[in-house]
Amino acid sequence: MTVLRRMDWRLVVPAVVLCLAGVVLVWSATRPRMVAAGEDPQTYLKRQIANVLVGLVVMTAVALAGQGTLRAWTLPAYVGTLLCLAAVLTPLGRTANGAQSWLSVGGLELQPSEPAKVTLVLVLAALLGDRPDGERRPRGAQVLMALAAAAAPLGLIMLQPDLGTAMVMVATVGGMLLVAGVHRRRLALLAGAAVAAAAGAWFLGLLRPHQVQRLLTFADPMADPQGAGYNAAQALVTVGSGGLFGRGLFRGDQTGGRFVPEQHTDFVFTVAGEELGFAGAALLLVLLWAVVLRALRVAARSCPAPYGTLAAAGIACWLSVQTFINVGMVVGLAPIVGVPLPFVSYGGSSIVACLAAVGVLVAVQDQPSSSSILPRTSGVSRPRTVSVVRRRTTSSTVAAHSRSRA
C-alpha cells in the first residue's frame, strides 16, 4: 500500500489520536446540553466523527497530491479562500460570539478563516521559497509580496473581527519570515511596525467593546467573575478542579452542569482538565507538542528546498501558537480571543484545516523539485533508508554552510 507507506506515522498517529480524543471530549461536553434541550445526546458525537472522517480524506488527498500539485493549486486555493473571507462579510455571513466569521452554504456551516491559515502558509512558502538563483535570503520584493499576500486575508479577518485567528496568522507569518532568513534589521522593523499597529488599534479605539473587555479581563480575571470574566473564571475553576487524574470521563460535575460556555469548541480543553485531570490534559499537550516538533523536523529535513521548509515551519508556528492561545485562555495565560484547539475542538472547518496541514507536511517530505528525475511513486525501487541518508547529508551540508557564514 503506497498510501500507507508514504504516510509519516510519527506525525499522523498523534494527530489522529488527538482527533479521536477530541471526538470523546466533544461528546462529553455536549451530551448534558443536548439532554437538557431534549435532543439526541449523540448529535455532536456523530457530527464530529463525520468531521474527522472528512478531514482524514482531505489529509490523504493532500498527502498523495504531492508537492507539485500542491504548488499548482496554491494560488487558486488562496484566491478561493480570499473570496470566501470576503463573502463572509456580505449578508451571506453569519455572526456568532460577536464575530461575523461563518458562511452558510447549502446547510453547511463553513469558517473560511480556518482553511485560510493553510492557504496563507502555502502562498507564503511559495513566495518566500522561490530562490531561482540559490540565494539564502528572499529578496526585498519577495518579502513585500509575501507581506501583501498575508495582509489580504489578515485584513478580511480583522474586519470580522476575529482577533484570535489574526493573532495566530501574525505569529505564523512572523515565524515564516524568521525561518525564511529575512534580514535581522528588516525583521526588527516589521516587528516594530506590528507592535505599532497593535498599539494604534488599541489607542485609536479600533477594537470592538467586547474585545477590549476580554483583554481587560485577561489583565484581571477575577474582577467580574459573573460578567465579562465569567468564561475565564469558570474555565480556570473547571480545569483546576480536575486534580491529578480528574473526575473520570463523563463524570465532571462542572462539565455535566454546563458551567463553561462554548465548552465543545473553544473551551474543549476544560473537559480534559476536569474529567481526565492533569494526566490527561498534559497528554493532550504532549501530543500537540509532538505534532509540532515533527513539523519542525520536517522543516529541517526539507532543507535546502525552501518551499517545504517554509511550509512545515509555518504549520508548526500556526499549530503551536494556536495551541498556546487556546490552552492559555483556559488556564489564564492568554486573553479570551476565541480560537479552537487544533485537532480537538468541535468544528469541521478547524478539523479539516488541521488535518489538511498534516497532509501538507506529508506531501512536502517528498521533494519533486529537487529530485524530479527519480520516479515519484516507485516505493520499491527507492528504499526509504536511502532517502533518509540523502536528506541527512543535505541538511548537514547546509548546517556547515551556515556555520561558516556566521
Binding site: G240, D253, G328, L333
Partner: protein, 641 residues
C-alpha cells in the same frame, strides 16, 4: 541553522509554559479550584423538619401541618441568565398572578439599605416566593423547566389551623427568622415557648446542580427529624365556648372594645381555656404575612388582635381585689365575724372617698361587705393600717406584681404599688410635674381656666408630696383601684389558690410532649409558686361569701335563673374606673363553690360594671362547660365531677 533552533526553542517554550501553568492550576492550586467548583455546582439545601403538632387536652389538633405547593427561586441560577432572570421572574409573576415587584422583592438579599420584603437566608439556597400555589400552576413549573429555569415547585408542609381562629394568640405564629437562615421559627404563644420541642431537627441535602440551577443528582442526604407533639391542657370545646361568650359580651356592651378570659383548673394549675378578644385568623401567617395584614394585627383601632390580653393585658382589678384586702385585714386582726359600718363615704385627709354609687348600707359583717361590695369598710381598714403595708404583702403572696411564669412569652407582671414604688415613680416624673406646677397649663387655661387651675393644684400637690404613699393611695389600693394592675391570668391563679386551699401555681398550658410516634417524652406539671399565708378558716370564709354573690350580691342579676343548685358558682364582680373611658368590667369565679374545680375569670375593657358585662359572659362559660341552661356540656364527664 540558528533561526531553526530559535523557532524550536520558542515553540518548546510555549509548550513548557502551558504544562507548567497546568501543573500549577491543577496540582498546586487544585484544592482551591475544587472548592470553587463545589461552590459552583453543589447546593446545600436545608430540609425543614416537619413541625410538631399542637393538640388539645382530648387530642384534637389545634395546629398541624398540611402540604402546600411552594415555589422557590434559585438566585444564583437566575443571576446567570443573560438578563439576570428578569424574564423568568416576569413569567413566574404572570403564572402566579402576583406583581413582579413582589417576587423581585422577596429574592432581594436583606441588607442595611434593603427594606422588607427581603431574603434573610443564604443566597445559595432556593428562596421560597409563594406558598399554597395551585396544583395546576405548580405542575406547569415542574413540567417546563426550560420556561422557568432556576424555579422549583414542590410540596412543603405549612402550618394549618383546623379550628380557624380558635386560641390564635395562645398558639402564636411562625415567621422567618433572620438568625436561623430564613427558616420559620415560632414567634409568639406556644409556638415560641415550645419552639425547641416543636421544631425537630432539620435535615440537609447536598445536590449537584447545573448552571441553570436544575438538580442533577443528590450527593448526600441526611433526613430531617420531625418535631415533637405538644399536648396542651386546652380543651378546644371549652375554648370555643369561652371565645364565643367573650365575643358576645364585648358586642353586647355598648362601648366595649376588647376583653380576655381564662379558665384554669384550680386543682392542678393547668390552663383549660385562654381567650383574648379580638382574635384573628392565624392562617394569615402562612406563606409569609402581607404587610397590610400585619398592620391590621397591630393596629390599635382594630383592637390589636395580636395581643394576648389574658397574659399581656393589665387592668386595675377593682373589687375582685377585695379578696386580698379581706385576707390582709383578717391577718391584721380584724374580726371576720365583727360588724362594720358601711357609710356612703369615708373622709381621708380632707377628701371624701365614696362608696360605689354613694350608697349608705349600714352595719354589716365582712361576708356581706364582699357580697354587696362595700368600699368604705376597706377604706377604713386601709386608713387604719397605714403606713404599714400588710395589703401589699398579701397581694404579693397572692402572686400579684410578678409574672406567673406561665409557658407563654411576653407575659406582663402587673403592679403592686407601695411606698417604695411611689418614691421611684416620683423620682422619675418630678421634673415634669414640678414644671407643670410652676408654669400651670397655659394650653388648657385658654380653653378651660377652671380645669387648668385644678390640674395645676394637683401638680403642685404631687410636686411637693408625690413621693409619699398617702392614706388616700392606701384606700384606693384596698379596693383594687389607683395604680394597681393585674393580668387576667394573675387574677385567675389567685382565685385558684383561694379555691384550692392556698396553693399558688405557676400555670401551664402545655401538658405533655410526645414524640412524633406518640411516645411520651415528658410531662409538664405546673410548678407550685407559693402558698397563701392565709388560714383555712379565712379562705373558707371568703369562699362562702363569694358563693353568695351570684345569689344575692352584685352578680345576682347576671345569674338570675342560673341553676346554682346544679352548679354552685362563687365569684366576685369588679368595676374598675378608667380615666376618660368606660369602666373595666371584671368577674372572677370558681365552681363548684363547695369543692372548687375550675376558675373562670373574664374582663371586658370598657364593658361597664362587673355585673353588667363580665358576669354574664362568665355565666355563659359555666353553662357551656357544664352543659346547663339547655347547652351541651363542653367538658367531658370525668372533668365535671
Amino acid at each position: 541553522m540558528r533561526r531553526f533552533l530559535l523557532v524550536r526553542l520558542l515553540v518548546s517554550a510555549l509548550f513548557v509554559a502551558l504544562l507548567g501553568r497546568l501543573w500549577q492550576v491543577q496540582i498546586l492550586d487544585g484544592e482551591r479550584y475544587t472548592e470553587a467548583a463545589v461552590a459552583d455546582h453543589v447546593r446545600h439545601i436545608a430540609i425543614p423538619a416537619v413541625r410538631g403538632r399542637i393538640l388539645d387536652d382530648r387530642g384534637r389538633p389545634l395546629a398541624r401541618n398540611r402540604a402546600a405547593m411552594a415555589v422557590s427561586v434559585d438566585r444564583v441560577a437566575l443571576s446567570r441568565q443573560p438578563d439576570h432572570g428578569r424574564a423568568t421572574l416576569r413569567r413566574l409573576a404572570a403564572l402566579l398572578d402576583r406583581p413582579y415587584r413582589e417576587l423581585a422583592g422577596r429574592i432581594r438579599l436583606c441588607g442595611p439599605k434593603v427594606g422588607k420584603p427581603c431574603w434573610a437566608g443564604s443566597p445559595y439556597q432556593p428562596i421560597p416566593v409563594a406558598e399554597g400555589v395551585a396544583e395546576r400552576d405548580a405542575m406547569r413549573i415542574v413540567e417546563r423547566p426550560e420556561e422557568f429555569p432556576g424555579v422549583t415547585a414542590e410540596p412543603r408542609p405549612v402550618r394549618d389551623h383546623p379550628r380557624g381562629n380558635l386560641a390564635a394568640q395562645v398558639l402564636g405564629y411562625l415567621a422567618p427568622d433572620e438568625t436561623s437562615g430564613g427558616g420559620l421559627v415560632g414567634k409568639d404563644g406556644l409556638e415560641a415557648a415550645y419552639e425547641a420541642d416543636l421544631r425537630g431537627r432539620p435535615g440537609s441535602q447536598d445536590v449537584v446542580v447545573d448552571s441553570a440551577g436544575q438538580v442533577l443528582r443528590t450527593q448526600r442526604e441526611q433526613p430531617a427529624t420531625p418535631g415533637a407533639t405538644l399536648v396542651t391542657s386546652i380543651d378546644a370545646r371549652v375554648q370555643a365556648v369561652v371565645e364565643k361568650a367573650l365575643e358576645r359580651a364585648v358586642r353586647r356592651a355598648r362601648k366595649a372594645d376588647s376583653g380576655a378570659a381564662v379558665v384554669l383548673d384550680a386543682r392542678t394549675g393547668r390552663v383549660t381555656a385562654m381567650a383574648s378578644y379580638p382574635g384573628y385568623d392565624p392562617d394569615v401567617w402562612t406563606g409569609g404575612i402581607e404587610p397590610a395584614d400585619y398592620r391590621r394585627l397591630i393596629s390599635a383601632e382594630r383592637g390589636s388582635p395580636l395581643v394576648s390580653r389574658a397574659v399581656q393585658g393589665q387592668w386595675p382589678p377593682a373589687s375582685t381585689w377585695k379578696v386580698v384586702s379581706t385576707a390582709a385585714a383578717a391577718a391584721s386582726g380584724y374580726d371576720l365575724e365583727g360588724r362594720y359600718d358601711c357609710p356612703g363615704s369615708y373622709r381621708i385627709g380632707g377628701r371624701a372617698f365614696r362608696n360605689f354609687e354613694g350608697a349608705d348600707l349600714g352595719a354589716m359583717d365582712l361576708r356581706r361587705a364582699l357580697v354587696v361590695s362595700c368600699d368604705t369598710i376597706f377604706y377604713r381598714f386601709a386608713r387604719e393600717m397605714w403606713p404599714r403595708e400588710p395589703m401589699q404583702r398579701m397581694a404579693r403572696d397572692f402572686g400579684f406584681g410578678v409574672r406567673t411564669g406561665v409557658d407563654l412569652p411576653g407575659e406582663a407582671a402587673g403592679r403592686v404599688p407601695d411606698s417604695a414604688w411611689k418614691r421611684r415613680q416620683w423620682a422619675q416624673t418630678k421634673d415634669r410635674i414640678c414644671k407643670d406646677a410652676r408654669e400651670g397649663y397655659p394650653g388648657t387655661a385658654k380653653r378651660d381656666p377652671a380645669r387648668a387651675a385644678y390640674l395645676k393644684a394637683i401638680a403642685a400637690e404631687n410636686c411637693a408630696h408625690g413621693y409619699l404613699w398617702s392614706p388616700g393611695d392606701a384606700a384606693n389600693f384596698s379596693i383594687g383601684q389607683g395604680d394597681v394592675l393585674v393580668t387576667p391570668l394573675q387574677l385567675a391563679r389567685a382565685y385558684a389558690a383561694l379555691a384550692n386551699g392556698g396553693t399558688l401555681f405557676s400555670p401551664r398550658v402545655g401538658k405533655e410532649v410526645r414524640g412524633p410516634d406518640g411516645t411520651l417524652i415528658r410531662t409538664i406539671t405546673p410548678p407550685v409558686a407559693g402558698r397563701l399565708p392565709v388560714p383555712a378558716r379565712t379562705l373558707s370564709y371568703i369562699r362562702s361569701a363569694l358563693a353568695e354573690v351570684p345569689k344575692s350580691g352584685t352578680a345576682a342579676a347576671a345569674f338570675s335563673g342560673f341553676p346554682l343548685g346544679k352548679l354552685p358558682v362563687a365569684g366576685k364582680t369588679g368595676t374598675a374606673e378608667a380615666y376618660g373611658a368606660e369602666d373595666t368590667s371584671w368577674f372572677a369565679s370558681f365552681a363548684p363553690a363547695d369543692d372548687p374545680r375550675y376558675v373562670v375569670v373574664a374582663v371586658i375593657s370598657q364593658g361597664g360594671s362587673g355585673g353588667d358585662a363580665a358576669a354574664p359572659a362568665v355565666r355563659e362559660i359555666w353553662a357551656g362547660m357544664y352543659g346547663l341552661e339547655g347547652r351541651k356540656a363542653a367538658l367531658p364527664e370525668r372533668s365535671r365531677s
